[in-house]
């Protein structure tokens, strides 16, 4: 009975979505907004090769700030939410192959993550992606070395400092630039080079660090709900 009701509701929901498909006609050209972003003179104002990054960090930088905040919030909430005595569990010892592979892979993954966020304005990727890769390195660590100590303070510090730098740079834009999150507070550099696009790579790097730290923290909190001892 309930399921029938749900089916009816979902069917109605589907019907509701139908006009959206009906009115959808595909795009032959960019929208007005995108056209603006893709215009040469405007690209040069930001000087970022990756237009998505330009949008994410500059044009819609406030969204990104919110996004970072959400991760930050999640980490904070989980931190105090999952606090408390951990329950015991027993683990099989990890296989030698796994441990060895992790030893090899973790530094590479971290480096790869750093690469991704540092080149966010040049190639696909950016702070979030890089941060996620770093966090996957951390999770690999957790799996391979369950007993290894987690550097709480370090990650917390990283998180805070990168957040502060982000906000600081953003506020700096409002103070000395033409607006909050203005990337022109740093020299725009040469189009297509690593040190270009003004503050974008800096901001994105710190976003990457922050995301990496936050995700690691979250993972750690989940992990520490159970312990081996």
């Amino acid at each position: 009975m309930r399921k029938l009701f749900i089916i009816i509701i979902l069917a109605a929901f589907g019907l509701m979505l139908y006009p959206l498909i009906q009115s959808f006609s595909g795009n032959d050209h960019l929208s007005e907004l995108a056209t603006y972003y893709a215009q040469k003179e405007n690209i040069e104002k930001v000087n970022s090769v990756n237009l998505v990054t330009a949008i994410v960090v500059t044009y819609r930088g406030l969204d990104t700030l919110g996004e970072v905040t959400i991760l930050f919030l999640t980490a904070a909430i989980i931190a105090f939410f999952l606090k408390g005595p951990s329950t015991l569990r027993t683990l099989r010892p990890n296989s030698e192959i796994f441990i060895t592979a992790a030893r090899v892979l973790v530094p590479i993954m971290v480096m790869f993550g750093v690469y991704i966020f540092m080149n966010g304005h040049l190639s696909p990727g950016g702070g979030f992606q890089g941060g996620a890769v770093i966090a996957s390195a951390v999770i690999l660590m957790f799996l391979a070395f369950p007993d290894a100590p987690f550097q709480h303070k370090f990650f917390g510090f990283m998180e805070s400092i990168s957040g502060l730098v982000f906000v600081g740079l953003a506020a700096l834009g409002a103070l000395i630039g033409s607006g909050f999150l203005d990337n022109t507070i740093l020299p725009l550099g040469t189009f297509g080079k690593l040190l270009s696009a003004g503050a974008i790579p800096v901001i994105y790097s710190f976003v990457g660090l922050k995301v990496g730290a936050e995700l690691s923290n979250i993972l750690n909190e989940f992990k520490s709900v159970q312990s081996d001892k």
């Binding site: 009701f5 749900i6 509701i9 979902l10 109605a12 929901f13 509701m16 979505l17 006009p19 959206l20 498909i21 009906q22 009115s23 959808f24 929208s31 007005e32 907004l33 603006y36 972003y37 500059t58 044009y59 819609r60 930088g61 406030l62 969204d63 700030l65 919110g66 996004e67 905040t69 959400i70 930050f72 919030l73 999640t74 904070a76 909430i77 931190a79 105090f80 939410f81 606090k83 917390g156 510090f157 998180e159 805070s160 957040g163 502060l164 982000f166 906000v167 600081g168 953003a170 506020a171 834009g173 409002a174 630039g177 033409s178 607006g179 909050f180 999150l181 203005d182 990337n183 022109t184």
Partner: protein, 1041 residues
């Protein structure tokens, strides 16, 4: 000026920086958070001040690009106001939860800070996607704050909240992205400019955006999750969610509404109405404070939603209405949640504990009254404007539903207030007060008064002087620690001062108002004199009594319907508190309040309708009403008749008057009821002799007659002396209603004479009986008896009172009867007249019972040594008796000016005077002559009897012939209980409590409806998601049809 964008930098920067702190410095962390929020508040409020002084709204562009290319924030007057409010709530909320946050640690502090910051951005941002992001920020922060107390219930509530808002957010995102697709921009202004509604897909996108914001406002019935959140989260958090989040979300809806069209406004207003009525209905069955507050919050949001939906109809009034009601809700709800947190008791009935901290009881009352829209709170003025505008637009259904919803809300809130004031509480447990938890509610309590005053300055033709009276009452309240006598003197002086200012002017200008002022204020002074009999502090009595008198004075002074209504509501509030002071008057106070509220709403609606027709709120403009005259006058009559307790609307009165304190009973009976009479007179003057109005008056006439009959019959069967007098009041007011409804010179004359007389003798009787009750400690007449020997003063007072009341010549009551006959025959209302006459004779039954059972018959064992009534009661009683005697001996002193006054409206068929001899169209009467004749005769006969039997032996109470036996006990010899059994057998069916049963049934139905309805909220989070989705579908269906 600091750019508003720095609200974000301050908030986030501090939040991020808090991560540096270690565990030990949690206190520092909270302080930092408070500093940050204070800074945010400083920024927003400085903008508010600047903008209020007339500066232009500013736009903040991020990244240095103009919108829509980048995200822009707007700081306008509204934004500045709302973000200031949010920051204020955030600051005080943070302060309130200081310890809580400190114990949970820096992470919680961060979350709290980000929550406040996120709300600010929600207010400021003009970008749809940014809005989405920060709504998510806020909703995640909320999910985090809910579990701050970490008990099972809050975790469940949080999870339900997450899944519901998860789906809502998804739909919102879908709407935004399609809006972007169709309009090519994410800026809200651009989206509203591109005509999305022109095609189906666009409409669906708009639907998705609007409906998800609506869902964030917790519309009925897709709001089960929200209720759980209110119930389970920490009260401090619930306060923020209710005050700050709701404010922000409301503004979001306001911001987004331009993308929709008129049809959407209508849908929103309907959704709001359903929410308002539905959730207030379900609130009826709640027993837990916080869940109740949840229902109330949701109801208020529904009301706000309705107002938003009515924006196209309200025109430029919209902002005033919305802001006043929003602010009332904001202050009151936050305050209530905070108090709930202080008390730590969730059961409504446990709130009696609050009595131990009178300050909080006052705050609680303040918040409740401000929620319901009583003066002087902002929502009063908001609701007033709302009703005026609605009726101007002809939106009668909406008007009716809004009043219904408010009424339902009133039921549970006042019941709750009643519990707090009166419920038995035998717990020794008291609650601790910490300064940080006291400041926020106190501050909000003060703010709500200030906001009320400020709102009033916007109201047209509203005399701000009235607030001086309120300020004086406040001072009296602050002096509550003084002994009662001092406060009594102050109160008397204040009334005397007001009388001194009001009376002389009125005497020459307006006799009608003069007389009522005399009754209200001089009566007030006299009843206050009786207050000297009370020892101790009498906490809380004087402010509320003065509040009632202030209301009465304002009613007299009022020249506009707004002022009148203002005074009316003040009086209602004051008298409510007076009534509920009685020992067992919790239920009676509630029913009084409910009838009064319903009556007030009827009056409000009528004023609205009249305003719609005449476009004027002058009281005199009522006379110009033409079209809806029957409806308007009926509504007004019903409204006023709730105060005069006419048949059907009377059930509150007996209990309320009977259980009230001894000097309160005359206040509420002899004085307060006259307010209804005054209202009726204003109404009738306005009605004139319009044929439509005459029809209403005809019905009123019958109603008055039946009220008189039933009231008197019921009084005859009472065993409780004060209840008897209360029923007597009902019937006396029935006479007055009848006489007024005659709408003729003599009829009005009768009504005025009755009003004056009723004031005199009912004051005398209630004061005396009250004083006697104080002495003998029971209300029940059969437990008294034979008190004449102990209380001669009281006996004489009652004797004179009942002779006057019965209308036996030569006392003044006869004046009313005589006029009444002439008026009835003149008006040709014979049958009604006979009913009234019949009831007049029935009065003898209860009057005899009153005086006999109390003062005559057998004196009881335990009352052998009682003393006469307190001198402080005797003074006003005998002053009144002197007044009564003067009126009796020289009725022309009063009747002549009355006749002149009434000639203004009804010039014909008055009395003609020849010395003391009055000649009416049918009869003649010389009050003075009768008095003298009877006086001489009586003295002669008394002398004769004295001559014959002066040597009679005084005997004891058992020296009676008792069939050759002697009585054994006074209790078994005193015939009093159910003394009119035979009469009851014959006519008792007329007073079977059918009307009470009727209202009880109504109440049962409402509660059963609420009981069954609220099962909708099954507690299953999954089901709630179904509701959410179904709600969206319902919107869609409404949209396409």
């Amino acid at each position: 000026m600091i750019s508003p964008i720095h609200i974000i930098s301050i908030g986030l920067g501090t939040a991020f920086a808090l991560g540096f702190l270690n565990k030990k410095s949690n206190g520092l962390a909270v302080s930092l958070m408070l500093v940050a929020i204070a800074l945010m508040a400083a920024v927003s409020s400085s903008w508010f001040i600047k903008l209020y002084q007339g500066a232009e709204a500013i736009e903040v562009y991020t990244a240095g690009f103009k919108p829509p290319y980048s995200i822009n924030l707007r700081m306008g007057l509204n934004e500045a106001l709302l973000s200031s409010l949010i920051n204020l709530a955030g600051f005080l909320g943070g302060l309130y939860m200081f310890k809580n946050l400190k114990n949970t640690g820096k992470h919680a502090i961060m979350v709290f800070l980000v929550f406040v910051m996120g709300l600010n951005v929600i207010i400021l941002t003009r970008d749809a996607f940014n809005l989405f992001v920060f709504m998510e920020v806020v909703s995640i922060a909320t999910a985090g704050l809910i579990i701050l107390i970490q008990d099972g219930k809050s975790i469940q509530a949080g999870f339900k909240y997450m899944i519901a808002t998860g789906i809502i957010a998804g739909i919102f995102l879908l709407g935004i992205i399609f809006a972007y697709y169709f309009s090519g921009s994410l800026n809200i202004d651009d989206i509203s400019n591109s005509n999305l509604l022109a095609f189906k897909g666009g409409s669906v996108a708009v639907l998705m955006i609007i409906v998800s914001v609506v869902l964030e406002l917790k519309p009925f019935p897709a709001n089960g999750w929200a209720l759980d959140v209110y119930e389970a989260s920490d009260p401090g958090i619930a306060a923020l969610i209710s005050a700050a989040s709701a404010t922000a979300m409301y503004f979001v809806l306001f911001k987004l509404m331009p993308i929709a069209d008129l049809q959407w406004y209508k849908i929103i207003s309907t959704a709001g109405l359903i929410t308002f009525v539905g959730s207030n209905l379900f609130g009826l069955k709640q027993t837990g404070a916080r869940r109740l507050l949840g229902y109330s919050s949701i109801g208020q949001l529904g009301l706000l939603m309705t107002i938003l939906g009515l924006k196209p109809f309200l025109g430029d009034k919209f902002e005033y209405i919305a802001i006043t009601i929003l602010i009332s809700h904001y202050l009151a709800k936050a305050g209530l949640f905070w108090i709930a947190g202080l008390l730590k008791k969730d059961k409504l009935k446990d709130w009696a504990l609050l009595r131990k901290k009178p300050l909080f009881l006052v705050l609680f009352g303040t918040f409740v009254f401000s929620l319901i829209g009583f003066p002087p709170f902002p929502s009063f003025f908001g609701k007033w404007e709302l009703i005026m505008s609605l009726s101007q637009q002809g939106l009668y259904f909406t008007l009716a539903m809004i009043l219904t919803g408010s009424f339902l809300e009133g039921i549970y809130l006042f019941r709750w207030l009643g519990y707090a004031i009166k419920m038995e509480s035998n717990e020794s447990w008291t609650f601790k007060l910490e300064w940080n938890k006291v400041i926020p509610p106190v501050l909000f309590g003060i703010l709500v008064y200030l906001a009320g005053y400020y709102s009033s300055t916007f109201a047209e033709n509203f005399n701000g002087l009235y607030f001086i009276a309120l300020a004086f009452i406040l001072i009296i309240y602050l002096l509550d620690f003084l002994p009662a006598a001092v406060k009594n003197i102050l109160s008397i002086l204040s009334l005397a001062l007001v009388s001194w200012y009001m009376l002389p002017g009125l005497y020459s200008e307006d006799m009608l108002r003069f007389i009522f002022t005399l009754i209200f204020l001089v009566g007030g002074i006299l009843t206050f004199i009786a207050g000297f009999a009370y020892k101790g502090k009498r906490e809380g009595f004087y402010p509320v009594a003065l509040l009632m008198y202030a209301g009465l004075a304002i009613i007299i002074r009022a020249s506009t319907t707004l002022e009148f209504f203002f005074g009316w509501e003040l009086m209602t509030a004051g008298s409510y508190f007076l009534i509920i002071r009685g020992k067992k008057s919790m239920a009676h106070g509630l029913s009084y309040m409910l009838f009064s509220m319903a009556g007030a709403y009827a009056i409000l609606a009528a004023f609205g309708l009249s305003f719609a027709e005449t476009a004027s709120i002058q009281l005199s403009s009522l006379a110009a009403v033409g079209g809806n005259i029957t409806v308007i006058f009926s509504l007004l009559a019903i409204g006023f008749m709730t105060k005069t307790a006419s048949l059907g609307l009377h059930i509150w009165l007996p209990g309320a008057h009977a259980e009230a304190e001894s000097d309160v009973s005359p206040m509420v009976s002899a004085i307060l009821l006259k307010a209804g009479v005054f209202g009726l007179m204003i109404l009738m003057i306005a009605m004139g002799n319009n044929p439509e109005a005459t029809r209403v008056a005809y019905v009123l006439g019958w109603l008055g007659a039946l009220t008189a009959l039933v009231g008197n019959l019921a009084a005859a069967f009472q065993e409780d002396a004060k209840r008897l007098l209360a029923y007597s009041s009902i019937s006396q007011l029935g006479y007055i209603l009848f006489a007024l409804a005659m709408m003729s010179h003599l009829g009005w004359m009768t009504a005025m004479v009755y009003s004056i007389n009723h004031f005199l003798y009912k004051s005398i009787l209630f004061l005396t009986i009250g004083a006697v009750v104080l002495k003998v400690g029971t209300h029940y007449m059969y437990k008294m008896g034979g008190l004449i020997k102990n209380m001669p003063l009281a006996f004489i007072a009652v004797l004179i009172g009942i002779i006057a009341l019965a209308g036996v010549p030569p006392l003044s009551g006869f004046a009313g009867k005589w006029l009444f006959y002439n008026a009835v025959i003149d008006k040709h209302w014979y049958f009604q007249g006979v009913i009234v006459f019949f009831s007049g004779i029935i009065a003898f039954l209860y009057l005899f019972k009153l005086i006999y059972s109390v003062f005559l018959g057998q004196l009881k064992d335990n009352l052998r040594h009682v003393k006469d009534i307190s001198i402080w009661f005797a003074i006003p009683i005998y002053i009144l008796i002197i007044g009564l005697m003067i009126f009796s001996a020289k009725p022309d002193l009063v009747l002549k000016p009355l006749g002149e006054m009434i000639s203004v409206w009804y010039p014909n068929a008055g009395l003609s005077w020849e010395g003391g001899l009055a000649t009416a169209p049918y009869g003649y009467w010389n009050g003075t002559g009768v008095m003298i004749t009877i006086g001489i005769m009586f003295m002669a006969l008394l002398g004769w009897l004295l001559l014959l039997s002066s040597k009679a032996v005084k005997v004891g109470q058992f020296n009676i012939v008792y069939s050759a036996e002697a009585p054994q006990r006074p209790e078994t010899t005193h015939v009093s209980y159910n003394i009119y059994a035979g009469y009851n057998k014959a006519l008792g069916w007329m007073v079977a409590p059918k009307i009470t049963e009727f209202w009880d049934t109504m109440s049962d139905w409402a509660h059963s409806l609420a009981e069954y309805g609220r099962r909708l909220y099954s507690g299953n989070g999954q089901v709630y998601t179904t509701y959410v989705l179904a709600y969206i579908i319902a919107f869609y269906l409404i949209m396409i049809f």
